[in-house]
């Protein structure tokens, strides 16, 4: 390495996106997908360790999981209003919880964002970490939010039928009502077009759901990483500790919020409501 290159500053910035560490063919292996694979592996190992050990008298991991489940069942019951619906939705909702939680917390481990390689790009030396919290990558959160919203629509169609469900968004029923009832109550001429537009607004709100779910999680976790990096830059010893605790709590809270929002979307989509 030449003297001029050695004196050059290594760019050490927190990017909004996850950097590819290497490519497999056309597929970019980013640092965030590596860490999400670690999470998948972790879950697989834990599930493997649970295999055949689920007993009536709980022990170890089963005990902890039961406590988590029981707590969530209580919260979910207050949202769904019935234990039956809670049990229907919880496997899906808790998968979100565990996936998001493990990714959030894994991103706080030492080595994340700090161990990496130096790549020369446009004449600059860029530091690319090998690992990055998976939820600090919009690809992950967008994927999660899309699954959540899509599944909530599928559940809605299954629960109340496709025609009824379609009428929530493209309300043909109210349009059809206009010629039928217009003589009896002329005000319908004014009200039903409004109802139809409300349905169209619902479509936009569904898109907003995806955006709000994905950006909330991404924003919180990414901001946490930036915050920790900044604090470490000021003073690496001791100073980031309180913020680390804060991020642990934020990671948990964001996971809970994500899971509960998914449950609420599912609940609203499957509820046979009448406005």
């Amino acid at each position: 390495m030449s003297a001029s290159a050695g004196s050059e500053q290594i760019l050490h910035e927190n990017t909004l996106y996850a950097e590819p560490v290497f490519h497999v063919g056309q597929f970019p292996i980013t640092n965030s997908i590596i860490s999400s694979w670690i999470v998948v592996l972790l879950v697989l190992v834990l599930a493997w360790s649970l295999r055949g050990k689920i007993k009536s008298v709980p022990r170890g991991l089963q005990n902890g999981l039961e406590m988590v489940f029981e707590t969530f069942f209580g919260i979910f019951d207050s949202i769904t209003g019935s234990r039956k619906r809670t049990l229907q939705f919880s496997p899906f909702v808790m998968a979100f919880f565990f996936f998001v939680l493990l990714n959030n917390w894994l991103g706080l481990f030492p080595g994340f964002g700090s161990i990496g390689q130096i790549v020369v790009e446009d004449g600059h030396k860029l530091f690319i970490p090998y690992l990055r919290g998976a939820t600090a990558d919009l690809n992950t959160t967008l994927a999660l939010a899309t699954i959540a919203v899509v599944v909530s629509h599928i559940a809605g169609v299954i629960a109340i039928g496709w025609w009824k469900y379609l009428n929530r968004f493209l309300n043909f029923k109210v349009l059809w009502e206009i010629p039928q009832k217009v003589i009896k109550e002329p005000t319908i001429l004014l009200i039903n077009p409004i109802k139809f537009f409300v349905g169209i607004i619902e479509i936009i709100s569904e898109l907003a759901k995806v955006a709000s779910l994905s950006f909330r999680l991404f924003g919180n976790i990414f901001a946490g990483e930036v915050l920790l990096a900044s604090m470490s830059a000021i003073l690496a010893f001791g100073l980031p500790l309180p913020f680390m605790f804060l991020e642990v709590i934020v990671g948990l809270i964001q996971a809970i919020i994500f899971a509960i929002l998914v449950l609420i979307y599912l609940h609203i989509a499957t509820a046979a409501e009448e406005h």
């Binding site: 909004l16 996106y17 996850a18 056309q26 597929f27 970019p28 980013t30 997908i33 999400s36 694979w37 999470v39 998948v40 879950v43 697989l44 834990l46 599930a47 493997w48 649970l50 295999r51 689920i54 007993k55 009536s56 709980p58 089963q62 999981l65 039961e66 489940f69 029981e70 049990l87 919880s90 496997p91 899906f92 808790m94 998968a95 979100f96 565990f98 996936f99 998976a134 990558d137 919009l138 690809n139 992950t140 967008l142 994927a143 999660l144 899309t146 699954i147």
Partner: protein, 163 residues
Amino acid sequence: MESLVSIFHIDGKLFLAQLINFAIIFFVLYKFAFKPIAKIMQERTTTIEKSLDDAKAVAKKLAETGLEQTRVLNEAKKDALAIVEKANQAAEVNKQKLIEKTKLEVAAIMAGEKVKIAQEKEESLKEMKQEIAGLVILAVGKVIKEKMTDDKDKKLIAEIISR
């Protein structure tokens, strides 16, 4: 939208990879953790509820048995009292009968004795009368130094005594 994709490096392949990751997590958690644990928890709830119900039933039964026991005991006591009472009464009757009988016997004996005594008294009186008569005859004979005929004598004595 274009800028969104370029700023955040949204990549269809990565997106898909994360979808698959989530799907794996969901299936693994559902199959190996959620389903068996929820089932076990449900079973445990049922078992505990059943045990509590059983315990309640047992307690109720115990209380019922206790009541039954007291009832039977009370009945037995009552019966025993009745039996004792009856026995007492029978004994009383027997006693009375015995006393009556004894009284009658005693009366009979006493009546027999009285008759005997009266007879004895009469006999002794008769004897005494005869002896006295003999003595009087002797004495009178001695006094009047003269023997009277038996008939006269006797008549005279009888007159004297009965006087």
